[in-house]
């Protein structure tokens, strides 16, 4: 390489910083090494020219016109269509597998048997086929002859918890007494808690249940494996982690990792479910390898429901008490994580927004013959929040205290107090009836509130490259992915703002494992990981360009040259951006950005207020209005941040009133594996939604907020239902049948 003096200055040294990492809902601090280069920070949140403004997303035009290419839209020459065969039994052993008839069918190019013979949930993939059209692939999958020895199963939590229930997993030899209920966590002093509860002014003991919630990504899982033999492959993946694809795909294809490129330009929803190649990706790779042709294997909607994971259900038995002034005195929780064959996830009680003087908890994984739960947007938090917020409301009701006042009493973090005041003002809390179910006629209004907490810090994985060409064009490249959160847009905006340009002056290149590394988008870590690297690269590019043009601006120091509105200015002189860039060498300049801990932060607070109307003669709940106040440091883009808050409220609304997997106990199958019976909220379900960015948060750091947004609304809505009609529903979703039976009871 010829010497390029314009590239980033030599790294003077490294330093170690501690950063938060959120794994399965649990935040832990880890030490990472970062470059010891500290440039200027973001500056005050209210003094940005692009950031913290309302920026139209840059991929808008291709998305609204159908031009954006999702994995589902990829069509390659000679591409085959893959299709899976699933096991219909909750627990079975394969006794016969004959694919001869399927392989003989017209257009069928490959048939692969899944590498296991015992299936522990209905929906387990048994085989995969590839054929020349989707129709033929469907025929082929159905032409495979399979026979099973059906084994005992259990899918109901209430059955699974029994010691003589059919065993879902093989017993742990170290704890042979454990069947489906496996101890995971136990802490606190139960006796002390019991003693404390005896002193409480009021005690509530209740069970809260949340069902399995499906991610319901509109684009199903799957990939297109572009491999026809030979020594390299490209994987088109619908993924939250571009870099989570190549290693596993290479392994399946028998290629070196460096020979496999993963690409994701646009993706239709992930919500925590799309990391790695998955079993469908493994099978797609094997099909391509066998057929020596590109294979597209996108799951059907039914596949998606029964085999790609879900938010784990929860069964939480909680007993807690308060003093007369509303102070929590103690809490005792027994919590079952309902993760099917998996471990499940659950934020432990007491939910960490609140403090309890004494607490005791036992946490178990309760296994059933269902697919493994996986991370879903704020794993564990909505479940824990719903239970805790319902419980607090019950306690407030028991002692006749305002629910906001009771919450404040137990919230050590003052930020929540400020947010509760704001939310209360927006929803009109003063109009709320203190006594539930007040009113005339069948329609009763009620209000509720709740709070959420999330980490949202970043980590040191993003390597950004900013290239400024001699014609003034700017390219920012990093292998990250945009899940619809707006990553492309802030990627451009950070670079453009630093260089005094407009969004349109910068082009981003993302979504390829051949670009600079980036972290997978999980735990709301993308913004806080990527934005600092972008800023770092942009600062370095600015300084490098400034150094080049300093002679044109009175030999000013690079740091003194101002980049603003397409002009470069210093010493009373100004040149245009293009003029400045024309001074660059032929190769232009390239700056490499690294993560800087000081540019990101963590700790997100949010509160939600909800108003609902209950028809007490039908049990129908109509959401009227929802307000969510959310902080998050420096808002990179107010428009997309508000959209995130809306999205969190709406998904939480779905969890409150409509969503939930329904299983048949005897058959061991899911009864609602489609959008007719698994009911997502639609246009007519929408209340007035008020997303509020908490600008009182003056932290000049970037923090991810996506997960935080989904946490509090479910509890707020459940509390609003109680306030409206006096019925406390402790098992989600809160459907008309439950409300009506509650009213009749």
């Amino acid at each position: 390489m010829p010497q390029q003096p314009q590239t980033s200055p030599a790294i003077p040294g490294k330093k170690t910083v501690r950063v938060p990492r959120v794994v399965n809902g649990l935040e832990t601090m880890v030490e990472v090494e970062v470059d010891d280069v500290t440039g200027p920070g973001w500056g005050r949140n209210d003094q940005h020219t692009l950031l913290n403004h309302r920026l139209a997303r840059v991929d808008g035009p291709v998305k609204v016109s159908g031009v954006a290419q999702y994995t589902h839209d990829v069509r390659l020459l000679n591409m085959l269509y893959g299709r899976l065969l699933r096991c219909p039994h909750a627990h079975a052993r394969l006794t016969k597998f004959d694919s001869a008839a399927a392989a003989r069918l017209d257009g069928v190019k490959a048939v692969i048997q899944a590498p296991m013979s015992e299936f522990r949930f209905s929906g387990s993939p048994v085989a995969a086929v590839a054929a020349t059209t989707p129709e033929l692939a469907e025929d082929a999958a159905r032409a495979i002859v399979v026979e099973y020895e059906v084994l005992p199963h259990v899918v109901s939590a209430r059955e699974a918890v029994k010691s003589d229930a059919p065993g879902v997993l093989t017993r742990n030899p170290k704890k042979p007494e454990e069947n489906n209920l496996r101890a995971k966590d136990k802490r606190g002093d139960a006796a002390k808690v019991a003693a404390a509860l005896a002193t409480a002014a009021a005690v509530v003991e209740a069970e809260y249940l949340t069902p399995r919630i499906h991610h319901a990504c509109l684009e199903t899982h799957g990939m297109v494996v572009d491999y026809s033999g030979g020594d390299s492959a490209t994987i088109y993946a619908t993924t939250q982690g571009t870099f989570t694809i190549p290693a596993d795909a290479a392994d399946e294809l028998g290629l070196p990792q460096s020979a496999v490129t993963a690409t994701v330009q646009h993706m239709g929803g992930g919500f925590g479910s799309k990391f790695g190649i998955g079993v469908e990706g493994m099978l797609a790779c094997r099909l391509a390898k066998e057929a020596k042709a590109p294979v597209k294997l996108m799951l059907t909607r039914h596949d998606e429901f029964v085999m790609t994971g879900n938010r784990s259900g929860s069964w939480q038995k909680i007993k807690a008490g308060v003093k007369e002034d509303g102070t929590l005195v103690a809490l005792h929780a027994t919590q079952y994580r309902l993760g099917g064959v998996g471990q499940g996830s659950q934020a432990a009680q007491p939910y960490s927004v609140y403090r309890a003087v004494d607490s005791y908890r036992e946490v178990y994984a309760l296994h059933t013959n269902e697919d493994s739960s996986i991370a879903m947007r704020a794993p564990g938090h909505p479940q824990a929040s719903f239970a805790m917020e319902s419980l607090l409301d019950e306690l407030a009701h028991a002692i006749g205290m305002d629910p906001i006042a009771l919450r404040k009493k137990n919230m050590p973090d003052e930020v929540y107090h400020r947010q509760l005041n704001r939310g209360a003002r927006e929803i009109g809390w003063e109009k709320r009836n203190a006594v539930p179910s007040l009113g005339f006629g069948p329609l009763r209004r009620g209000m509720g509130c709740a709070a959420g907490i999330w980490g949202g810090g970043g980590n040191n994985q993003c390597k950004v490259e900013v290239t400024v060409s001699r014609d003034g064009s700017v390219l920012v490249a990093v292998g990250t992915q945009d899940l619809g959160t707006g990553t492309r847009t802030f990627t451009r905006a950070i670079v453009a703002e630093e260089l005094g340009l407009q969004i349109r002056d910068v082009v981003e290149q993302i979504g390829s494992s051949k670009l600079g590394s980036a972290n997978p988008s999980g735990g709301s870590t993308t913004a806080a990981s990527l934005a600092p690297s972008l800023k770092d690269a942009a600062v370095k590019a600015r300084l490098a360009l400034a150094k080049t043009i300093a002679p044109l601006l009175g030999n000013s120091a690079p740091e003194e040259i101002v980049f603003s509105r397409g002009k470069l200015m210093a010493a009373g002189k100004a040149i245009s951006w293009k003029q400045g860039c024309s001074a660059l060498p032929a190769a232009g300049l390239t700056a490499h950005g690294e993560w800087r801990e000081d540019l990101q932060g963590h700790g997100v607070h949010g509160v939600c207020f909800a108003e609902v109307e209950v028809d007490v003669e039908t049990g129908k709940v109509r959401p009227i209005k929802m307000v969510q106040v959310q902080d998050g440091g420096l808002p990179l883009n107010r428009l997309t941040m508000e959209s995130q808050i809306n999205g969190g409220m709406i998904q939480s609304l779905g969890m409150a009133f409509w969503e939930g997997r329904v299983m048949d106990d005897r058959l061991g199958i899911q009864l609602n594996p489609g959008f007719g019976d698994y009911k997502l909220p639609g246009a007519l379900e929408m209340p007035e939604l008020v997303p509020i960015i908490d600008d009182e948060d003056k932290r000049e750091v970037v923090i991810g907020i996506a997960e935080a947004c989904i946490i509090p609304a479910t509890g707020a809505l459940a509390n609003a239902v109680f306030n409206a009609c006096g019925v406390r529903i402790r098992e989600l979703p809160i459907t008309p049948d439950k409300v009506l039976m509650g009213l009749l009871a």
């Binding site: 139209a56 808008g60 509109l218 684009e219 959209s643 969190g648 409220m649 709406i650 959008f675």
Partner: protein, 219 residues
């Protein structure tokens, strides 16, 4: 059961004899399969040569049809069971992939296209049943360089996130605003109720639609 006293009856059903014979000959000639022909010939004698009559040929297996998509006649090969959505995405070359396959049973709206100007779920119509219709997908409403007013409003109001439901919403709303240029919020919601979004863009979809309705009429 009461029978209808209708003079048509005798014309249409002289025990079906004539029609049945004509029909059977067509079925056999159309090569609907040996088993089928055997079965039919057991019922009626099959004429040796085709009889030209008013029956359409029975179709089985792969056939070539033409679809009128976004003002272009597009030939393609499908099977009778190929849905219009599948035909657009996987059988047309080059493909029309704006309409998305999401639920495949008419419960999400992502595959919405306009058929003679009216929104329909393209997953719930067979391609062979759409050959006489004028079809418009989101690609036919506007391109990135020349967006229609609904598409532009979607961007301005951030009425999209992952974007997978967006083509369906844009198509539905574009058609609706032609029918009702000045809708109320409630009318917009009603018009959108057959389109579902997982990211949670609804409020801004409504905003975008209302913003278009507030624009001065074009020409």
């Amino acid at each position: 059961m009461p029978y209808e006293n209708d003079s048509e009856k005798d014309q249409a059903h002289p025990k079906h004899a004539l029609n049945r014979r004509k029909f059977l000959s067509r079925v056999a000639v159309a090569g609907a399969g040996a088993a089928l022909a055997d079965h039919l010939s057991g019922l009626e004698s099959v004429a040796a040569s085709p009889i030209i009559d008013d029956f359409e040929k029975p179709i089985k297996g792969r056939i070539t049809i033409a679809l009128d998509v976004n003002d272009q006649k597009r030939p393609l090969t499908v099977e009778p069971r190929t849905t219009l959505l599948n035909a657009l995405r996987n059988h047309l070359e080059p493909a029309v992939t704006g309409p998305k396959l999401v639920c495949d049973v008419g419960t999400c709206g992502a595959c919405t296209v306009l058929m003679d100007g009216k929104p329909v779920y393209s997953c719930l119509i067979l391609a062979v049943d759409a050959t006489t219709k004028k079809l418009t997908s989101v690609e036919g409403l506007g391109i990135p360089e020349r967006l229609n007013s609904v598409q532009q409003a979607f961007i301005d109001h951030d009425a999209l996130m992952c974007g997978f439901c967006t083509p369906g919403f844009v198509t539905t709303i574009s058609a609706y605003l032609k029918k009702n240029a000045k809708p109320t919020m409630d009318e917009i919601r009603e018009a959108c109720k057959g389109n579902f979004c997982r990211c949670g863009t609804y409020p801004r979809v409504f905003e975008a639609a209302l913003a278009v309705a507030r624009l001065p009429a074009v020409r």
